[in-house]
């Protein structure tokens, strides 16, 4: 019966954890903006030579302008550039990333300003050395509790004045710390930090979640025109939507859940074999009892039913205990890992059904053996 308990507990726990991670991703998605569509440079093939992503310089500011003009399904667009380096204040420093965007950038990525303000259009035009700071950076640099706003930190040795603090977002479902960043005008990052005139990403907001598909098509068309791509040439960019990413991940986590469930299912199978063994032993030990029951009028069918019911009771009660253990186990894992845990009613019902079936199936052969005993021999059994 222990096998059944472990099997059921692990099925419940695995499915709960799997479903929980899926739900946490879905929650993340709604917090990140489900109509987010972004464009990345794609790896290029130049005359048969693959160039890889990092050296791609195909995205330009003119693309951003074109999108603003020609995509009715897009409500907001911002370029993105990114630079990694060390942020320094006083004797404290912290490795982080500096992102550059326009005044719509925060809105598109659903980032909020907790205190202070975002940079203005004028500051963008003037390549102003201002930035917003994320909570993780604050915690590591302003350890004495000084208000970061108005302070000047150095990033890659260039001084930047802090004009705002971003609200905390925590870890996303891919394990990245969303508060470990600085945000500045893209012009500043492009020229002063990276000395480039291309951009590394374009972030847009579709007009609504269901229009995401249309938005993607529009963006692709505009980008291809901008990049003067011929019909047979592949895109030199990649358009990805948030929901696309999420559905990829949810299908991955579905596969994972199924896999985990299958592994747990194997242990259920082992539990069933355990029940079969127990029942065989039980039949052998109770041979005389079976002989007695037959002698006083028990028919083969009565004996069969008796042992089948016993094996089913065994597996179902193991299942109930297993379900309780499964609850406890998934709650424990959930609190340890910080993941939400979802107990599905379906998995409980399924476990019950499976246990009953296992009880009947694996109890069948021993029960049949019992029913086919010869009463005379059974009565004489030592």
């Amino acid at each position: 019966m222990l096998g059944i308990i472990i099997g059921v507990a692990s099925v419940i726990a695995m499915l709960a954890i799997g479903q929980g991670s899926k739900k946490s991703i879905q929650d993340q998605m709604s917090s990140m903006g489900s109509n987010l569509v972004f464009i990345m440079p794609a790896s290029q093939q130049r005359g048969g030579v693959m160039m890889g992503n990092t050296s791609s310089q195909t995205l330009k500011l003119s693309d951003v302008e074109a999108i603003q003009k020609d995509c009715p399904n897009i409500t907001a667009v911002s370029p993105e550039v990114r630079s990694s380096g060390q942020a320094v204040f006083g004797n404290k420093n912290w490795p982080t990333s500096l992102y550059g965007g326009n005044e719509l950038y925060l809105g598109i990525k659903k980032l909020e300003v907790e205190s202070g303000r975002i940079f203005t259009e004028r500051e963008i035009k003037s390549l102003a050395k201002v930035c917003l700071i994320g909570k993780t950076v604050v915690d590591n640099i302003f350890t004495d509790g000084t208000d970061p706003i108005g302070q000047t930190i150095r990033f890659k040795n260039i001084p930047m004045k802090i004009i705002g603090i971003l609200s905390e977002k925590g870890q996303n479902s891919f394990g990245q710390d969303q508060d470990d960043l600085l945000i500045a005008p893209y012009t500043t990052v492009q020229r002063r930090f990276l000395a480039i005139d291309y951009i590394t990403g374009i972030y847009t907001s579709a007009i609504s979640e269901d229009k995401t598909e249309d938005a993607i098509n529009e963006l692709t068309a505009v980008m291809r025109k901008q990049h003067k791509l011929a019909e047979n040439e592949e895109d030199d960019f990649r358009v990805m939507s948030q929901s696309e990413l999420v559905s990829t991940f949810t299908s991955i986590s579905d596969i994972l859940t199924t896999l985990l469930g299958a592994i747990a299912g194997i242990s259920l199978l082992v539990g069933g074999i355990g029940i079969m063994n127990i029942m065989y032993v039980s039949v052998t030990e109770r041979t005389r009892e079976i002989g007695l029951r037959m002698s006083i009028g028990g028919k083969g069918r009565d004996i069969l039913m008796q042992f089948l019911i016993e094996s089913t009771m065994l597996s179902v009660s193991g299942g109930v205990i297993g379900i309780l253990f499964g609850y406890m186990l998934s709650a424990l894992v959930g609190s340890l890992m910080g993941w939400p845990v979802v107990i599905m009613t379906e998995s409980v019902v399924l476990s019950f059904l499976v246990c009953s079936v296992i009880g009947i199936f694996f109890g069948w052969y021993p029960a049949r053996k019992a029913a086919n005993l010869n009463p005379i021999d059974a009565l004489r059994y030592e």
Binding site: L292, I296, G297, G298, K299
Partner: protein, 250 residues
């Protein structure tokens, strides 16, 4: 109920063990009437156990006829035989064969579980009545391991009575009991036979036990050696009175 409970005509039983055929019964003729108390005697290998199995509808003859209370068993299948056993027979075994984690009352009820016509309330009433007739009504809820050997055998006897059978078959029923308890059990059997008119067939190899019945049939080598009607009635109760009372009697 027929007047002839058992009618056995030219009954033969062979066992096939590998290449060898064992002729356990070589042509048996028996008639037992309602109300008789018969002892079947013989050494091991005489065929008495085989005879008992066939009389108990646990086995079928290779040839010949057996009519139990007017019903021929040769045409019956396993399920029909089981029903017949439930309806007409009561068994008492040498090793009691009670269910161990079950109370005396539930043990006695057991044959009625396999009888669809009896509901649970009536089942309990009949079981209590059966326990009363063997003098164990005050120990209804005891488990077998809380009962002495003699008491356990009484529970087994009550169980054999609960379906109101036409015939009780006892197989060395006193084999596991000491002398005094054996006579107490025989006293019970004699009382069931004389007061309630129960027909009893008792298989034994002990002449002292066989003496307490009204007819002895002796088996040897698969045939009936001799039959004997006992004119004198020995009562187990008399023998018990004459037995010395043991010092540490339970």
């Amino acid at each position: 109920m027929n007047n002839t409970i058992i009618e056995v005509t030219n009954l033969k039983k062979d066992f096939h063990v590998g290449d060898v055929t064992v002729h356990a019964l070589k042509g048996i003729n028996i008639q037992i009437r309602n109300g008789e108390f018969v002892a079947i005697m013989g050494t091991s290998g005489s065929g008495k156990s085989t005879m008992l199995n066939i009389l108990g509808c646990l086995d079928k003859p290779s040839s010949g006829e057996y009519f139990l209370d007017g019903v021929s068993i040769s045409g019956l299948n396993k399920n029909e035989l089981a029903e017949l056993r439930n309806d007409k027979l009561g068994f008492v075994f040498q090793s009691y064969n009670l269910l161990s984690r079950t109370s005396a009352l539930e043990n006695v009820e057991l044959p009625l579980f396999y009888n669809n016509k009896v509901k649970s309330k009536e089942r309990k009433e009949r079981a209590i009545a059966a326990l009363e007739s063997v003098g164990l009504a005050d120990r209804m809820y005891h488990m077998p391991n809380q009962l002495s050997g003699g008491q356990q055998q009484r529970v087994a006897i009550a169980r054999s009575l609960v379906n109101d059978p036409v015939l009780i078959l006892a197989d060395e029923a006193t084999g596991n009991l000491d002398t005094r308890t054996s006579y107490e059990i025989l006293e019970l059997f004699q009382r069931l036979n004389s007061d309630q008119g129960k027909t009893i067939v008792f298989v034994t190899h002990e002449p002292e036990i066989a003496r307490l019945t009204s007819r002895n049939i002796v088996f040897r080598d698969g045939l009936i050696l001799k039959e004997q009607l006992l004119k004198e009635k020995y009562l187990a109760s008399d023998i018990l009175k004459s037995m010395p009372v043991e010092e540490n009697e339970i």
